[in-house]
């Protein structure tokens, strides 16, 4: 595999040479962009600590004069956010696990083997992502009804068990793992499945952790399906709970933002845990088309 450290240094030199005249301009643009990215979140966080009078004060003030946690207390009292969190976590977790398993193994097969019908199957899998879930939601709903899975965890998680982009992503990643490694393993008497577990999986750990973030995020943000399938507030996910919550406090921005912070925080924590893996991961594995 390539050694990132040395390459990084080389590119470092190369880039500096290319961009040094406009270096300061680039810095300014990057910083401005970063500010644009986080400013809304800073506002959200700051509003959630403001007493009602300050929420609507004009011009906007980023540091509350009289910070309070009352909004959080009210939000936690108004909706069972902990329960929502557990549900979201459970659904997203199972969905992520299933997507990792199916995507990595079929991505491996699509990338490293040639068999009749391979490209057709691949494009068909990709094609299922080309129309939104809403377009076949009703047949899916009726199917879940016939299985008796309405208002259950199984029903909640069912459409999230697979992900076309996940297979696409893993395929692109595994393509760049050199064949020589696989051949060497075969000579050592390794089975094809052994190649998957002993070579492909360890080498795509990083890509897998990146995929896990996307899969987790995807399941976490699902809104329309949980709405339809759950008939019990105890099964509500964070997104659904927040949607309902938002309508109860249309103008109470303090409370709404507190609820939003509560709902965003867990996913940011998961992201923080996996952060190094994604960033290093994608950079280590690389992509190839």
């Amino acid at each position: 595999m390539r050694s990132t450290a040395t390459r990084g240094d080389v590119i470092l030199r190369h880039r500096r040479a290319v961009f040094s005249p406009g270096g300061i301009a680039v810095q300014v643009i990057l910083a401005a962009g970063a500010l644009t990215m986080v400013l809304p979140f800073i506002w959200m966080l700051s509003t959630s600590f403001k007493p009602p009078a300050e929420v609507i004060s004009w011009p906007p003030r980023f540091i509350p004069l009289h910070p309070t946690v009352k909004n959080y207390v009210d939000a936690m009292k108004a909706a069972p956010f902990f329960r929502f969190f557990i549900n979201s976590f459970l659904v997203s977790g199972i969905s992520t696990l299933s997507i990792l398993l199916t995507s990595s193994f079929s991505g491996f097969l699509f990338a490293k083997y040639r068999f009749p019908g391979r490209d057709i199957i691949f494009i068909a899998i990709l094609a299922t992502a080309m129309v939104p879930f809403q377009s076949y939601m009703i047949p899916f709903y009726l199917f879940m009804r016939d299985l008796g899975w309405l208002s259950t965890y199984q029903g909640l998680v069912a459409p999230l068990l697979i992900m076309s982009f996940g297979i696409f992503f893993m395929r692109q990643n595994i393509l760049s793992i050199p064949d020589e490694l696989m051949d060497a393993a075969r000579i050592d008497g390794c089975s094809e499945f052994g190649i998957y577990t002993k070579i492909i999986l360890p080498l795509s750990k990083a890509a897998l952790s990146a995929l896990s973030i996307f899969a987790f995020r995807n399941a976490w943000s699902d809104f329309i399906w949980p709405l339809l399938i759950t008939n019990d507030i105890n099964l509500y996910t964070m997104e659904l709970g927040l949607g309902m919550f938002q309508h109860r406090f249309t103008v109470d921005y303090g409370c709404i933002t507190a609820g939003s912070v509560i709902s965003v925080a867990p996913i940011l924590v998961v992201f923080a845990v996996f952060r190094r893996n994604i960033i290093e991961g994608i950079t280590l594995t690389g992509l190839k088309g």
């Binding site: 609507i56 696990l97 750990k205 952790s209 339809l228 019990d232 507030i233 109860r248 109470d252 845990v273």
Partner: protein, 436 residues
């Protein structure tokens, strides 16, 4: 590099969560009779909590649960669940949303006991008529949406005005006195806040409250099952002209000013029309704002819409008798009062005395105590009405932005007749068009 321990820990957490979750979900099914209610109003939660608690004292064998979603999501849920026969036992929704399911035979008429209750004089006969289809009654009226004018008494006083506008002339005159402008001449406080934007059908609905007093309506019924547009006439044209004049000629409302209940709470405008829930909303979110309510201004005639929210028992209910029993329990006078004082939606029962609540919250009075000559009108029982309103909304939103409509009766007439043609086309496509 990947921290396997961290990942393992996360999965462990996941499995633990799974392990502690499955039992409570299964254990809940032990009770003999289970009932579920779906509501489209999250603010209704305290009401349901209260009635369920009280009902359980009298009927310990019945376990009632409720689920509230925002209105748009609630309606989507019932649209999927009623045809699939997977809906909750009791559904709280409006007559006009349920009408299409009733027409399709997906909802059963009321059993005799409930029918008798409806006709026993506890309701205004108008409500009973609204909920009657093909001679049979459906659903039990629970609460109602009536429109009134909310006006900020403080602002009115400062402008030297003592009462809410009662006529269109006063609407224009008062709005101009109430509007405020900044140094550049931009509107900084709206004299009146009209509904001008947003997806869905709300824009048409609010516009209807001006078309009606001018003598028109969105659709008019010609005979049973035959309809046509009711606004390609002076009423429609003058209602559009009123909006255009207020926005572009007198500049007393603007797209840049915070509108609706939010704006009223933040005091960005002096008056607007809404339902009774705003009273409770103001109490919770903006207790310092001084306001009162008044009947909608009249023109050629006067009236207010009356949208009924009813309880229906679905075909998917396994215990329809218990469900109806619970519905009738919720209709007891004390809970009707509880609904008004705690939630702020106006209860339907007309035989209950709400005087003590009026004394506490005088703003409620304008909703029920209608001046002489005020009519009640309702959503037509027309399955395609939502489509008509939604598509008309888009045209109105466009028109409200068009400053060239000021003092341009020809163009206003054209906008109106184009829109009316679309309305008639929708009626025709649904086979209920009456012809010119």
């Amino acid at each position: 590099m990947l921290k396997m321990r961290k990942v393992g820990f996360l999965w462990l957490l996941c499995l633990m969560a799974l392990a502690c979750l499955i039992p409570p979900v299964n254990a809940a099914s032990g009770k003999a009779i289970r009932l579920a209610i779906w509501s489209g109003y999250p603010e209704m939660a305290p009401f349901y909590q209260k009635v369920i608690e009280d009902y359980k004292k009298e009927n310990p064998e019945v376990e009632v649960t409720f689920l509230t979603n925002p209105l748009r999501e609630h309606e989507q849920k019932i649209s999927a669940a009623i045809p699939a026969n997977t809906a909750a036992d009791i559904i709280e929704t409006s007559t006009y949303v349920m009408q299409k399911f009733i027409d399709a035979g997906l909802i059963d008429p009321n059993p005799p006991k409930v029918d008798k209750f409806l006709k026993s004089g506890v309701y205004d006969p108008f409500y009973v008529t609204l909920n009657t289809s093909e001679g049979k009654t459906y659903g039990v009226p629970f609460f109602q949406g009536r429109q009134v004018m909310f006006w900020n008494t403080q602002m009115f006083k400062e402008a030297g005005l003592s009462h809410a506008p009662t006529t269109w002339e006063e609407v224009i005159d008062f709005s101009r006195k109430l509007a405020k402008y900044d140094a550049q001449g931009n509107l900084s406080r709206a004299g009146i806040s009209l509904r001008k934007s947003g997806g869905g059908s709300g824009v048409t609905e609010k516009w209807w409250f001006w078309v009606y007093p001018a003598g028109g309506s969105i659709v008019e019924q010609v005979s049973k099952d035959k309809w046509r547009n009711g606004y390609d006439n002076d009423a429609g044209r003058s209602a559009l002209k009123l909006y255009i004049d207020l926005i572009h000629k007198y500049k007393v409302d603007s797209h840049k000013i915070k509108a609706d209940a939010e704006g009223f709470a933040l005091q960005t405008h002096a008056m607007f029309t809404r339902e009774s829930w705003v009273v409770g909303y103001m109490k919770q979110n903006a207790p310092s704002v001084q306001f009162d309510t008044a009947p909608l201004p009249k023109n050629k005639r006067a009236g207010t819409i009356c949208t009924l929210m009813n309880f229906y028992v679905t075909k998917s209910s396994k215990n329809p008798e218990a469900a109806w029993d619970f519905v009738l329990f919720m209709m007891r006078p004390e809970y009707q009062k509880y609904l008004l004082s705690k939630v702020g939606w106006f209860p339907c029962r007309t035989d209950v005395d709400y005087e003590e609540i009026y004394k506490q919250v005088p703003q409620y009075r304008a909703f029920m105590a209608l001046p002489a000559g005020y009519q009640l009108y309702a959503y037509p029982s027309l399955a395609c009405y939502d489509e008509i309103q939604t598509k008309l909304s888009e045209r109105l939103i466009q028109a409200f932005l068009d400053a060239s409509l000021v003092d341009n009766p020809g163009k206003i007439a054209r906008v109106i007749s184009d829109a009316a043609r679309e309305t008639d086309d929708i009626l025709r496509a649904n086979g209920v068009y009456a012809g010119k």
